[in-house]
């Protein structure tokens, strides 16, 4: 039997059109350097955050900042995607010189970074010839190159204090990351490689990074809501039909990764 899904929310519902957004200031999502750091589906994180905010009546403005533009300092959530070695090094150099992301993080903005972007948040990562490259220093982590590339499904159980469900995603990296005393692991791996020592990702304050690459928030709406909560305060729950498909996808992928 086939089953039909109308577009949700239906046309004309509040929170969906730009004119509705003028009632309150928009949540500013800053996507950092999509020209350099957008390897595979990274746009998905911006789209998921936008959808989940709008469904709750929170207006959203997505600001894409290319690597030849200054990074705005007044954003609410900053997103950083994946990238190859050379773009990763170039992007880091430019962000250090620009200073906008650091200024935003210092005043408490949310930063969410995946894969290469996650490594960039640290004090150091391995560049194209594995020579250490100075990172942005927003998280107390150091990354280098591992022996083997980690490619495949990853499942990890999130630090209980964050109150986020099990992570499910795809990883594709050769990084090994060690956490210093100033950062906590985001999760413990049940399947996959993550940081390489049984932990996965890291966070400190409102800066959070993960090796789940690309559209990591698609299968992890709880993590998306954590970021929105950090940026905008407590959130009302979503109507069940808005969660149904993402929930089914999540269950399907978790069941496929770790058969009962």
């Amino acid at each position: 039997m086939s089953s039909s899904y109308p577009a949700f929310p239906p046309e004309g519902r509040p929170g969906r059109h730009r004119q509705d957004q003028q009632r309150s200031p928009a949540l500013r999502l800053v996507w950092v350097y999509p020209d350099l750091l957008s390897t595979y589906g990274d746009r998905g994180n911006a789209l998921v955050l936008e959808r989940r905010a709008r469904l709750r009546g929170l207006p959203v403005e997505i600001i894409e900042v290319n690597s030849d533009q200054p990074v705005p300092r007044d954003g609410d959530i900053y997103l950083m995607g994946g990238g190859e070695d050379l773009p990763q090094t170039l992007a880091t150099r430019r962000l250090l010189a620009d200073g906008g992301l650091r200024a935003a993080a210092d005043r408490g903005a949310v930063v969410f970074a995946v894969c290469a972007g996650y490594q960039m948040l640290g004090t150091e990562f391995g560049g194209s010839d594995d020579a250490p490259v100075q990172g942005l220093g927003l998280l107390d982590i150091r990354s280098g190159r591992g022996e083997r590339r980690a490619v495949g499904e990853i499942v990890a159980d999130v630090e209980p204090e964050l109150n986020v469900g099990r992570l499910t995603g795809f990883e594709n990296h050769q990084g090994v990351t060690r956490l210093g005393g100033g950062a906590r692991p985001l999760a413990r791996t049940a399947l996959g490689t993550g940081n390489g020592d049984g932990t996965e990702g890291a966070y400190a304050g409102r800066v959070l990074g993960t090796y789940l690459h690309g559209p990591a928030l698609v299968r992890n709406p709880g993590l998306a809501d954590l970021l929105l909560h950090w940026a905008a305060g407590p959130l009302p729950p979503l109507p069940p039909q808005a969660e149904e498909l993402a929930g089914r996808l999540r269950e399907e992928r978790l069941a496929a990764a770790i058969p009962a």
């Binding site: 998921v48 795809f170 399907e252």
Partner: protein, 421 residues
């Protein structure tokens, strides 16, 4: 003495034994129904003579065709465009595009003086070395199955190094793709073609120095290092090909879509390198109606179905341009088996908003990934489990069903519809 024996007698004994044994294995494989035999024959031959490909390529004019999208179609188009040369042309028409596939294609056509060989992007350096090609065709380069393919800046660098080492080779390259243009820039002889670039998400930055590229229309340049779009001698302009003399000729292909017009202009540029004039070459291109089941039309219980294959975001972008307007129903289908890439992240690089308001069906083994993607773009859809459910769901809207699927999903529909060619 037949032609096979004649050509084989020019090969060293090792190569003759290897092609004979490899050919026998291919025949057994075909008879056993294990595929077309092109890979197994090549693998066995290469095991017996590791330099078999070089031996088989020696003395022939080889064209290698590579790029992320359009390899199979362009290989078929070039083969067609070279038909006026007369004589057999060796080609790996079944898309077996690594060393064994190339070896098998050459060993099956021992008398062909010309070979047009689709080549996997990663294998270009090794295949350039082994075959010493007369022509290398570089179509485009974009993100593709990143769980198993190399990263594309790295690929472009490897192409560039390989092409710098073969001064007698002519490169036919798409000047509109900055990564391709940079990779081809090391070659001694290049025919630059303005073949267009619909997908730009992988080339906002300079492949040489990494600075954000300046773009105006099709022109692109780097203000840091000076790399810029080279002057072109061939151009695609809407439905016209503009040849090096500046003459515009309507392409009027049977194959649909901008991407295939682009592939056709490349094929015409290759034909010219072989001395085949535009008019006879184009006449051959217009005869091509489908490529390994792609673009094929079939009828199932009164519904006209057309199959489109696209494997990555750039391919889906082009394919969404090709699908027929409403009231045609659109079936999107995605799998994530090995040949598809096991990671469906790429769906988030495709903009589906243009499907809003259309009758959209979603199928394939990863239909839920696609469903969540469409939901985010506010596209309504119906989940279906197979082609028959899709036909039922399409019938209410009209007589046409356009199927857009990635690799193994496409093959499954092809089998379900009776192995359409």
């Amino acid at each position: 003495m037949d032609h096979n024996t004649q050509h084989r007698s020019r090969l060293p004994l090792r190569a003759r034994v290897a092609t004979t044994v490899g050919g026998a294995a291919a025949t057994v494989s075909r008879l056993a129904g294990k595929g077309d035999g092109s890979v197994i024959g090549g693998i066995i031959g290469l095991r017996l003579a590791p330099d078999l490909l070089s031996l088989l390529a020696a003395g022939r004019q080889v064209v290698l065709v590579t790029g992320t999208n359009g390899k199979t179609t362009t290989t078929k188009l070039i083969t067609a465009a070279l038909a006026p040369l007369g004589g057999e042309i060796a080609s790996n028409i079944y898309g077996a595009n690594m060393e064994a596939g190339l070896t098998s294609a050459l060993s099956r056509a021992p008398d062909a003086r010309v070979a047009v060989l689709e080549t996997d992007e990663k294998y270009i350096p090794a295949m350039v070395k082994a075959t010493q090609p007369a022509v290398v065709v570089l179509l485009n380069l974009s993100r593709d199955q990143m769980d198993r393919a190399a990263e594309i800046w790295l690929l472009a660098r490897r192409w560039r190094e390989a092409l710098g080492g073969v001064p007698d080779c002519r490169v036919v390259a798409n000047a509109d793709d900055p990564l391709v243009a940079w990779a081809a820039g090391s070659a001694r002889q290049v025919t630059w073609v303005a073949a267009g670039q619909r997908w730009r998400e992988d080339s906002w930055c300079c492949p040489d120095c990494g600075a954000h590229l300046q773009r105006a229309g099709d022109e692109w340049s780097c203000k840091e290092c000076g790399l810029r779009r080279p002057p072109v001698s061939w151009m695609l302009y809407d439905n016209d090909v503009i040849d090096p003399a500046g003459q515009a000729t309507p392409l009027d292909l049977a194959l649909p879509g901008r991407a295939n017009r682009s592939n056709a202009v490349i094929a015409l540029a290759v034909a010219e390198a072989f001395g085949v004039h535009l008019a006879p070459a184009l006449a051959e291109l217009r005869q091509v109606t489908s490529v390994a089941g792609r673009y094929t039309q079939v009828t199932r219980r009164g519904t006209d179905i057309r199959l489109l294959l696209a494997k990555n975001p750039a391919g889906w972008l082009e394919a969404l341009d090709v699908i027929a307007p409403p009231p045609a129903t659109v079936l999107l289908s995605v799998n994530a088996q090995g040949p598809d890439g096991r990671d469906t992240s790429w769906l988030w690089d495709v903009d589906f908003r243009r499907l809003r308001g259309r009758n959209v069906l979603v199928g394939g083994e990863r239909k839920l990934d696609l469903a969540v993607r469409l939901e985010a773009d506010e596209v309504a859809f119906t989940l279906v489990n197979d082609i028959d459910e899709a036909v039922d769901a399409a019938r209410a809207a009209g007589p046409n069903l356009e199927v857009l699927a990635n690799y193994t999903a496409f093959q499954q529909y092809r089998v379900a519809l009776g192995r359409v060619q």
